[in-house]
Structures are given as structure tokens and as C-alpha cells.
């Protein structure tokens, strides 16, 4: 069968031939050995050449590319780490700490050392409360950090929380409890609006801020002084040149460039005055701003209700935040710098000075208020005095400028408003800080609104009507100002026209970039020294003129002027919140709380040597003299009385003029 296989013979033939040749060559062992030897030599040469190629390659890397690869290897092992600077502290004028850095313990996670970051966070959340905000903050920081660096998850844990975490450490790989510092505000909500607060750096901050300066920074100033002086308080980060391994773990420090600590700031604030101001307001909504008229320094700036800024530092429970943010009492709102209210009658001294400067009136001219109403010539609308009621058409009688101030006569000012040319009052009022921000370093202060004809054309598309002037001269209409602005106005009056700009900063380690005074000492132009003296006297009468019968007493005398131990000048104001229809009477009982009038009182003391100027606002408080006046008195008492006690002779002499007996039962004055 095999014979039938094609090619068998041929194959067998080849095989046989092979065998024959093999046999023939078998004996030629020497030749084969020689052949192999020469072949081996060739192979060895090839091997040697390959070795040379490999060596040449090594020469190329080690000699010709040495510098390049040395750079790569140095870059591998040497890392620069930022060292965050300690944030500057904030002090009040007496050296009380308003914002401090306190040591705490915080929970950190090193992502690289965890099996699963999210699982680890859940484990931590099972032990201590961990909000969504905190988890989000963690991821934000983690996204811009090395996986080997510890990232804060839960700042400031309690000793109990620390114990719970430590006990469970064995099953929490990559979780650390480490010493840390957080911002602390010892005065809590009392100082919240004045000093402001920091918050944990957010994703938005990371985009906005200088990456280099803030790479390791934990907190960023968000409100108040903390926000305004953020740059100086922050300081300059240092750096550490560190040798790391491939996993980024630090091996040793090669060089260190220490951080420049943030500047410590001393503010004009007087913590005890601030506490007194907040206590004087009590449960009411409102604001108190106290300024030293000599320097413009803000001694107190309270806005009530307030919030605990410490809650913002480390992030709070969203429920707590929502309650704060949505409360109708608006605790997060800084009324002192951002609450815009009609100044009401507190504007009258400014209008009076404008009219004196413009020659529209003088101290001797009188008008007669016969029925408590005023009509523009040919006008049908009835403008009323604050004393007007449906039953009382009597009016306040003969009124000169002095009496127009201490009785706060609307009728006198309506008549003045009719005769004052358009825009005279706004141009004059600007000098006091109305309509713009005159403060130097108050973060986010509102400019208020000072309406004039140009503004009205732009905003309303219509011209300035005579009625607008009438509203303006009694501080109503479109005019809006903040308590900070009105405190500035009364400080300037206390200075008899010398302009000061309100400021927070009293002193610092060294001059700060943010504080730009560029202020030439300026004065309000227009009124004569005699005008100032007589205006101050009129405002003094608001507080001290008493026992003369109701229509002859200062509007505030009954409430604050009877037992006062020093001389105070003041002006009350009451701002309408809702319009009262023609012929209708304002009836507090019929209005809901938030529609009632706002109560103002602006004052300074001592009259002859003013050291404090105060503005009090009580939202929906009603009458300025009876509601805001006592608050102002309490604040000024707190500041002035201790120094009077040191020099008793002068204070008793000044106090003797105040009346002792009560006259007719006081009606709420304007």
C-alpha cells in the first residue's frame, strides 16, 4: 500500500542520499569542530557588538543625557509644599480679642490610605455627625490636593467625638485625628455683624483666589472686617521643600521658608459698648452705630437679631442655616450697614443747615402752624404735621427754626421745602455722606439713596415735582439711609461741620494695603460757625428742654432728658413704612408689626466736647423719641458716665439744668 503513495520513491531516494552523505561526512569530525569554532567566533563577535551597543546606549543616557535625566529625577523627589500662615487676630480698642485662632482637634482623611474614600466617609458619618456640606467641602479640597496629604473632613470635634473615633481607629484606615486651629469669635453673636466671619474655603473661592497664596488655607473671610481685611489678615504662605517618595510621602525636609503671619488688627470697636448696645436693643429688631466724632472710629456697630459667627466657621447643619436664612427677623442681615430706611425727621437738621446756607431762611424767621396741615399753593394734597390727628386741628403755633428742630415741626419744613430750589438739599446733604459710601473700611456698606432731579428722571422718567421737595425735607419719599450713614451725619454735626469718614481700623502691626485714607481734612461748606452753634443748641433742646409745657418741651425730653447727668444733643425720627391715605390717621394697633413705623434717634455727647455720636434704629418700633431715644441714652450713658465719674464737678453742674418734675403726661414725640 505504501508503494502506491505518490512520491514515496522520490522521498526514499532523498533519504538514502542523505544517509549516504551523512555517513561520508561522519568521520570528518575535525572539520566540523573547526567549522563550529569559527562560527562560535562570529557569534561571539556578534555578542560583543551587542554588548557595545548596550554600553553605548548607557553612555548616551549617563553622559549625554545626564542633565536632562537628573532634572527629571530631582523633580520626582523634591516637592514644594505650601505652609499656611496663621491668620491675624482682631482686637477691640481695649485689647479684647474679637477673633482668635484656637487649637482644636479635627478629623482628617488621607485618601491614598483608604480602600474607598466614600466608604470611609460613611464610616466616619456613622460615628460623628457629618453634613453634606462637610462632605462636599472634603471633595473640593481633595480635588486640589495630593492623595497622600491629609484632608480635613470634620473640623473641631468634641472630646467625646474624638474618643469615639480613636476607639474605632483600627477599622478606619487613612483616618487621622490631628491638632488643628479654627477661627473663634469669643463675643459670638454680639460682634457678628461688626467683625464678620470666616468660612471654609469653597470651590468658588478656589476659582477666585490666588492659588499660590491660598493653597493650604483653610478659612476665608466672608463678612465684615474679616472680609475687608482678608488680604492682610491672611498673611503670606511659607513653603517647605520636601523630599518625597513615589507615593508622595514625605521623607525629610530639605528647606523651609516660614510663612509671614497675617496682620493683627486693632479696631475702634469698644466691646463693652457693643455689648451695652446689643443689650439696649434687647429683643427688638434694630441697629446701633456709635462713632467717635473726633476720629470717625466706629465704637459700636450692633445689628439685632444676630447670629453666632462660630457656626459659620466650620460649617453648620443646613437646618440651622435655613432657619437663620429664612427667619422673618433676618438675623443674617446687617441692618447697621445695609438696612436702608427713610431717615425721617433726623434729616431736618441737614435740611435746616442747607436752607441757612442757601439763604432761604434764618434763625429769626417764623411761621405759624395753625392746624397741623400744609398745602402747596394751588395744591390739593394735604401735608400733615406729626402732631395732627382727626380731632386736633390746633397746630403747634408760632415756630422759628430753633423750635422747628426741638419740636420737629413738619409744617416749618414743608414751608421751607416749598421755597428751597430743586437739588439744593441733595447737593448739601452729600457732604454728610448721604447717597454714597463714605466709610473707609466697612465691607459691603450700602450707599443708601439720595434722590435728586437727575436721579428721578433716570429712575422714574419724570421731573422733580414740588411735592418731592416736601417729602424730601422731612426725610421721607425716596430718601434712604443706613444707620451707619446717620451716625456719620450726627458725628459731623457734633464736629460742627468737620467731616469724618467712619472707620473700623484703629491700629495694626504695620500699615495695611486695604486702608486707603487719602483724605484731606474737609468741612461741610455753607453754614457759618454761628449756624452750627445754634443747630447744636436746638438739638440739645430736643433732649434737655423740659418743664415748659407739652408744646414747648423737646420731643425727647420726657423720655431721656429728665435725669440726665451730662449734656446731650439729639434728633429723633420716625419713618413711615406704609403710606397713610389722605385724611386717615396712623393707628399703630391696626397695623401689623412689620408695617409699623421705624423709630430713629441720633445723638451725640457731651455737647461741648463730643466723644460719641450714636444712631439708633428700631425697626417697626414706632416713635423715635420714646423707643429709639432711651436706647441711645443707654448707649451714651455707658460710654460717657464712667469718665464723668472721674470728673464729678463738671457733670453735676451740667445736670442741674435738667428738670426734676414731670410736666403733662408725655405723648409719644416725633
Amino acid at each position: 500500500m505504501s508503494r502506491t503513495f505518490p512520491g514515496w520513491h522520490a522521498a526514499k531516494g532523498i533519504f538514502d542520499r542523505d544517509r549516504a552523505r551523512q555517513r561520508a561526512q561522519l568521520k570528518d569530525v575535525d572539520r566540523e569542530r573547526r567549522d563550529f569554532a569559527s562560527r562560535t567566533l562570529v557569534v561571539f563577535v556578534v555578542v560583543a557588538v551587542i554588548c557595545c551597543v548596550l554600553t553605548a546606549r548607557m553612555v548616551w543616557l549617563t553622559v549625554f543625557k545626564h542633565d536632562e535625566y537628573r532634572t527629571i529625577s530631582e523633580d520626582n523627589r523634591i516637592q514644594m509644599f505650601g505652609v499656611p500662615p496663621p491668620r491675624g487676630r482682631i482686637y477691640d480698642r481695649a485689647g479684647n480679642v474679637l477673633a482668635d485662632n484656637v487649637p482644636v482637634f479635627s478629623i482628617f482623611v488621607i485618601p491614598e490610605l483608604t480602600d474607598d474614600v466614600d466608604a470611609t466617609l460613611s464610616e466616619i458619618a456613622a460615628l460623628v455627625e457629618l453634613s453634606d456640606d462637610e462632605i462636599e467641602a472634603f471633595h473640593t479640597l481633595a480635588s486640589e490636593s495630593f492623595p497622600h496629604s491629609p484632608i480635613r473632613v470634620k473640623p473641631q470635634i468634641s472630646p467625646e467625638e474624638r474618643a469615639v473615633v480613636e476607639v474605632n481607629r483600627h477599622r478606619l484606615s487613612g483616618v487621622l485625628v490631628q491638632p488643628d486651629t479654627v477661627r473663634h469669635y469669643p463675643y459670638g453673636e454680639v460682634m457678628a455683624h461688626a467683625v464678620g466671619s470666616v468660612r471654609r474655603k469653597t470651590a468658588e473661592d478656589i476659582r477666585r483666589l490666588d492659588r499660590r497664596r491660598y493653597s493650604r488655607t483653610q478659612f476665608v473671610g466672608k463678612r465684615g472686617v474679616e472680609a475687608f481685611y482678608e488680604h492682610s489678615l491672611h498673611g503670606e504662605p511659607g513653603s517647605r521643600q520636601v523630599e518625597v517618595d513615589a507615593h508622595g510621602r514625605e521623607q525629610r525636609e530639605l528647606a523651609r521658608n516660614p510663612p509671614v503671619p497675617g496682620r493683627n488688627l486693632t479696631l475702634h470697636l469698644d466691646a463693652s459698648l457693643q455689648v451695652a448696645a446689643a443689650e439696649a436693643l434687647g429683643e427688638r429688631r434694630g441697629a446701633v452705630v456709635a462713632i467717635d466724632p473726633r476720629s470717625g472710629g466706629i465704637l459700636a456697630m450692633a445689628s439685632v437679631p444676630s447670629y453666632d459667627p462660630n457656626l459659620f466657621v466650620t460649617g453648620m447643619d443646613p437646618a440651622v442655616y435655613n432657619e437663620l436664612a429664612n427667619s422673618p427677623k433676618k438675623p443674617l442681615f446687617n441692618r447697621a450697614t445695609n438696612g436702608r430706611y427713610a431717615p425721617g425727621s433726623t434729616f431736618k437738621p441737614v435740611v435746616a443747615l442747607a436752607a441757612l446756607a442757601a439763604g432761604v431762611t434764618d434763625w429769626e424767621r417764623t411761621i405759624v402752624d395753625s392746624d397741623g396741615t400744609y398745602r402747596l399753593p394751588n395744591g390739593s394734597r394735604e401735608y400733615r404735621d406729626w402732631t395732627w390727628t382727626k380731632d386736633n386741628g390746633g397746630g403747634q403755633g408760632v415756630i422759628d427754626l430753633h423750635r422747628a428742630i426741638y419740636r420737629s415741626s413738619n409744617i416749618y419744613f414743608f414751608e421751607l421745602g416749598n421755597r428751597l430750589p430743586v437739588d439744593v438739599v441733595p447737593r448739601f446733604a452729600e457732604q454728610f455722606g448721604y447717597g454714597h459710601v463714605s466709610s473707609i473700611d466697612v465691607a459691603g456698606a450700602s450707599p443708601g439713596l439720595l434722590p435728586d432731579s437727575e436721579w428721578k428722571t433716570g429712575a422714574r422718567g419724570e421731573g422733580w415735582y414740588p411735592g418731592d421737595n416736601l417729602n424730601l425735607v422731612v426725610g421721607q419719599g425716596d430718601l434712604l439711609a443706613t444707620p451707619l450713614q446717620l451716625a456719620t451725619v450726627v458725628a459731623i454735626i457734633a464736629n460742627r461741620g468737620r467731616v469724618v469718614r467712619p472707620r473700623m481700623l484703629l491700629d495694626s502691626d504695620e500699615s495695611l494695603a486695604e486702608f486707603e485714607e487719602n483724605e484731606e481734612q474737609s468741612a461741610v461748606t455753607g453754614p457759618t460757625p454761628d449756624d452750627w452753634r445754634r443747630m447744636v443748641a436746638a438739638m440739645e433742646a430736643v433732649v434737655h428742654r423740659g418743664n415748659q409745657g407739652y408744646l414747648q418741651n423737646g420731643t425727647a425730653w420726657a423720655y431721656i432728658g429728665q435725669d440726665i447727668a451730662y449734656r446731650m444733643a439729639g434728633k429723633s425720627g420716625t419713618a413711615q413704612v406704609v403710606g397713610i391715605a389722605q385724611g386717615e390717621e396712623y393707628n399703630e394697633e391696626e397695623l401689623d408689626e412689620y408695617s409699623r413705623k421705624h423709630a430713629w434717634f441720633t445723638a451725640f455727647a457731651p455737647v461741648d466736647d463730643p466723644r460719641i455720636a450714636v444712631c439708633v434704629l428700631v425697626e417697626n418700633g414706632g416713635s423715635g423719641s420714646s423707643v429709639a431715644g432711651p436706647v441711645a441714652r443707654e448707649v451714651i450713658d455707658h460710654y460717657v458716665l464712667p469718665s464723668l465719674a472721674a470728673a464729678p464737678s463738671r457733670s453735676t453742674a451740667l445736670a442741674s439744668e435738667s428738670g426734676r418734675a414731670l410736666a403733662a403726661p408725655p405723648r409719644p414725640g416725633d
Partner: protein
């Protein structure tokens, strides 16, 4: 000749004679010993001065030397007789690996047979292929005819084809290198070598289609190391940085930042020569390459002294397998060749390749030691 030869050795008469009686070659032993000593020193540094690693490796190398001593005592006729059986056993085991092998780190290389420690049959083929092809040519006239060359290539290609898909490109290459080395040394004409080489070069693009994704990735990475800085390309960049930053004389032992700070991957195993480069510089690398070259030279010289065709081809082939390790490893770490998992012989941490390679040298010594003129 052995007794005369013993007198030329630097060991003294008595010990030299004893070695020769044990069929051990003192020169080769000296060279291998130098490489091992150098390797242990570098491993000590690469392991961050871990004595346990060092002791482990010393134990393995010791065991490998023991295997070499035993192998040297066997008569080369035994290797000739058992070469085909070994080859067939190897093929059967490779098929078994493909069918029932254990997968470790994504590669199916290991075989767990009841009653035996698990092992890699592909390791066996590094010796079996050169032995089998030497056996094949031993029975045929030299220089070989084309069809014998083709048959030998088939003997070489079959195990390679079984190993590469495991996947284990490195071992496959070493197995193929052993076979090809024997064929080259068999006396094949240079023009045939040229023709076959160009055929392989032309066919190499076809390899692309049988390579696994990760093998393709390695080739691409080789062509452009910046491609995947965190992966395979990272390894090469770091090893080049280690060698290049070492410069002429290195950063001194234990002071290489790339290796000591873990920037250099696989610093104890496949990439250990980069540690040498970084810490001992060009000087250290050149010294090691010279040692390798001396070992290869001595072993090739021993091959030329063999008694028969099988002895010559087997000894030559096994020696060139050893050199192929050196070439592929150093070429890979220095960025001349794509990354394939081949250790640096007798220096990289691990016992498997040391046993295989020293067993090979044991056979070389057996062939030389049993040769009679």
C-alpha cells in the same frame, strides 16, 4: 587535558583538581560567582537594605548552584538520550497549561499538579528547545539542509506559539532565542540566515494580529514612551531617569533617589539594572556587562571543546539563551527594546530563572567536563 588544565587555574593544585574531577569549570564558576555577588549587593540596596530579601535570594541562588552541580555530574549522553522526551513532555505540559493552568496576575503560566509544587512548564522549554534541536542536528549532517533548518524552526516555533498566548512574550522570546541560537550555530549558511531574517522582519507586522492588547500596548509605549506616563511608559521614563541621573559614577550605593524612594518600578526584579545605573553609574553597568561577556566567552569556549555535535550545539545554544536574557533585559530597561518581562540573569530577585540558567550552565559544564580529547 583536564589534569594539565587544572594547573593553569588560580586555585592551587589540589582544589583545582577536585573541581575538575567534579566536572566543574573554575573560570565559569568564578564569573558566575562574581555576577551573583554583584547582584546580591545591588539587591540589598534595591530592597532598602532588607536582610530577609537578601537571605531569600541567597538561598535560591544557592539552590540553583546545587542544581548546577548535580547537572554537571550527569553524562552528556543522558541529555542527548532524554532531549526528545523532555521536549515532548514540555509540549504536553504547555498544552495542559493552556487547558488547566492557574492564572496569576492575568497570565496563565502555572501548572498545579497534585503532589508537585506548582511550576511553569515554559521555564522547562528554555532548556528543552536548545537540547531538542541540538539532538535533531546531531543525527544529521552539518551544515544542515534547508528542510532540516525548517524542521528545527518548527521545533522552535511550536513551544513559542504555545507560550506567547499565555500571555508571556518574554519567556516565548527566550525559548525561541534558544532554538534560533542552536540553528545559527549549526553551520547554516549566512545567506540563509539573511533570507530568514528578512522573512521574519517582513512577517513581523503579522505578529500584530496575534498579540494580545497589552502586548500591543507595550509596543506602542516603546515607540512613544510619553503615551501613558502613568503606566508602562512611566516605567521606562523612570528607569531612564534613574540610569541617566546616575551619570558616570552613580549616586553611590543606597543613595539612588529613584530606587530608594520607589520612583523606579520593579526595582528588585526586571528593572534592577536601573538601580545599578543610578547608584553605581556607568562604571557599575559596564562592569556587569563585562562580567556577562566573560561568562559568555568562557561558556562558548567550552562549547568548542565539546565531544560531539550535540555537545557543541547544546552548550552554545544554552549559553546564547543566557545572553539573550541579558540583551533583552538591558535593552528593555534602557529603552532600546519594548518592555517584556525578562529578568536580568542572576541579579534580579527571584529563583526560577536562576535555576533554569544555572541548570543550563550545569549542562554546559557536563558537556565540557566529560569531553575527552
Amino acid at each position: 587535558m583536564p589534569s594539565d588544565y587544572a594547573r593553569t587555574l588560580p586555585l592551587g593544585d589540589a582544589s583545582g583538581r577536585a573541581l575538575v574531577r567534579l566536572h566543574l569549570d573554575p573560570w565559569l564558576l568564578l564569573g558566575l560567582g562574581a555576577i551573583v555577588a554583584f547582584g546580591l549587593l545591588v539587591l540589598y540596596s534595591a530592597s532598602h537594605r532588607d536582610l530577609e530579601t537578601l537571605a531569600n535570594q541567597a538561598l535560591r541562588i544557592g539552590a540553583a548552584f546545587a542544581v548546577m552541580f548535580v547537572a554537571a555530574q550527569l553524562n552528556p549522553r543522558i541529555y542527548l538520550r532524554w532531549a526528545p522526551a523532555l521536549y515532548i513532555l514540555g509540549i504536553v505540559l504547555l498544552i495542559a497549561v493552556l487547558l488547566f493552568g492557574t492564572t496569576v496576575k492575568g497570565s496563565q503560566r502555572w501548572l498545579d499538579l497534585p503532589g508537585l509544587p506548582s511550576f511553569q512548564p515554559s521555564e522547562l522549554m528554555k532548556l528543552a528547545v536548545p537540547l531538542a534541536i541540538a539532538w535533531y542536528f546531531h543525527a544529521r549532517s552539518l551544515p544542515p539542509r534547508i528542510r532540516h533548518v525548517l524542521a528545527a524552526l518548527a521545533l522552535c516555533a511550536l513551544p513559542t506559539a504555545l507560550i506567547v498566548p499565555q500571555p508571556d512574550l518574554g519567556t516565548g522570546l527566550m525559548v525561541a532565542a534558544g532554538g534560533v541560537a542552536v540553528i545559527l550555530m549549526s553551520g547554516i549558511r549566512w545567506r540563509v540566515v539573511g533570507a530568514l531574517t528578512s522573512l521574519v522582519v517582513l512577517a513581523s507586522p503579522a505578529l500584530w494580529f496575534v498579540m494580545t492588547a497589552y502586548q500591543k500596548e507595550r509596543v506602542l509605549t516603546f515607540l512613544d514612551p510619553g503615551r501613558q506616563p502613568q503606566d508602562a511608559g512611566w516605567n521606562i521614563t523612570q528607569s531612564k531617569a534613574a540610569i541617566g541621573s546616575g551619570g558616570f559614577s552613580g549616586k553611590d550605593l543606597f543613595n539612588g533617589t529613584q530606587s530608594q524612594l520607589d520612583f523606579l518600578p520593579e526595582s528588585q526584579t526586571d528593572f534592577i539594572i536601573a538601580v545599578i545605573g543610578e547608584e553605581l553609574g556607568l562604571v557599575g553597568i559596564t562592569l556587569l556587562l563585562v562580567l556577562y561577556l566573560l561568562v559568555v566567552a568562557r561558556a562558548l569556549l567550552m562549547a568548542t571543546e565539546a565531544r560531539d555535535t550535540f555537545g557543541r550545539l547544546a552548550a552554545g545554544g544554552l549559553t546564547l539563551v543566557f545572553f539573550a536574557y541579558v540583551f533583552v533585559n538591558v535593552g528593555m530597561v534602557s529603552g532600546l527594546l519594548p518592555v517584556v518581562g525578562v529578568p536580568l540573569p542572576l541579579v534580579s530577585y527571584g529563583g526560577t530563572s536562576a535555576v533554569t540558567l544555572l541548570l543550563g550552565f550545569g549542562i554546559v559544564m557536563s558537556i565540557y567536563g566529560h569531553a575527552t580529547r
